[in-house]
Symmetry: C2
Subunit: 152 residues, 2 copies
DNA sequence: GCTGAAAACAAATTATG
DNA sequence: CATAATTTGTTTTCAGC
């Protein structure tokens, strides 16, 4: 599917606030309500919009500690990789996990209550996964920017 | 604000899919529609729900290249720090930026089309910001997990 | 804080130019 | 594509417990 400027503008607006009415969107874009409605359905059906979610304020729900954690496996056999990825997906504390280039194999973004909870997470959850060789953690001192919106 | 189990369940559901109707939520929670409605409003007014957004599928909009980029400043004077953070917030390619502990000062999550676009970003945008000492980039080979939902 | 029902509003469908 | 009219469904308000 090829996106024209209207689609891009529409996605931009919906990535900012998905609770806007089609009327508000139609005003912002200079389209009719029906046109906006059809474009949104098309974007949904093509999987360009993958879903709609509520965003929760970390600090207000007592999850103020973010860490990035590098993980290296002892071996890179297919089996170990699949097993590690499966286990890590199950961990609620892990918001993101990437297989990356460089000295380590994986980079995890971990969200917990505080440093004590992070220690708990490392000792009882993460390093309980088999075949982890080594880890290296970096702690977030301040979140400078955080957006879910992709620029188009 | 103290969250009871109902609030937590509700937040869980809304973080999965914010387009569910209050009726569907009331069924899932065993509450009346009005009770659900009032709880949601309270969560919004207390800033626990910070907003509702549409999620866009990266790969479908030709943004398939994710990199994590460490940045070190030449100095850590208040002035340099403020300036860097201000500039980096303006860059659309930077989805996340964290001030972190460790050898580097910042960790950025960067989203672009491809490696060529990343090079372009580094040369023309990021390293154009004053007072950057050094950078070190890691490329995402595979996204194993990515969620916006905070577990409660 | 909860319920159930009414009123207000928006989404979704259909018809028409 | 846009508009308008309609139905269907959802949100919001309100009286009462």
């Amino acid at each position: 599917m090829i996106l024209d400027e209207m689609d891009k503008q529409l996605l931009l607006l919906l990535q900012e606030d998905s609770k806007q009415t089609n009327k508000a969107l139609s005003n912002a874009l200079g389209l009719s309500v029906t046109a906006v409605y059809e474009r949104i359905r098309k974007l949904e059906n093509n999987g360009i919009i993958s879903g709609y979610v509520a965003l929760v304020e970390k600090k207000k729900v007592d999850k103020s500690f973010v860490a990035f954690c590098h993980v290296k496996l002892v071996q890179h056999s297919q089996d170990y990789v699949v097993r590690f990825e499966k286990e890590v997906r199950k961990l609620d504390e892990v918001l993101e996990c990437y297989h990356i280039s460089g000295d380590y194999d994986y980079l995890l973004k971990v969200l917990v209550k505080d440093m004590a909870a992070f220690r708990e997470f490392m000792v009882n959850k993460l390093t309980n996964i088999d075949h982890i060789g080594s880890t290296h953690s970096m702690f977030v001192i301040n979140e400078v920017k955080h957006t879910t919106a992709i620029s188009l």
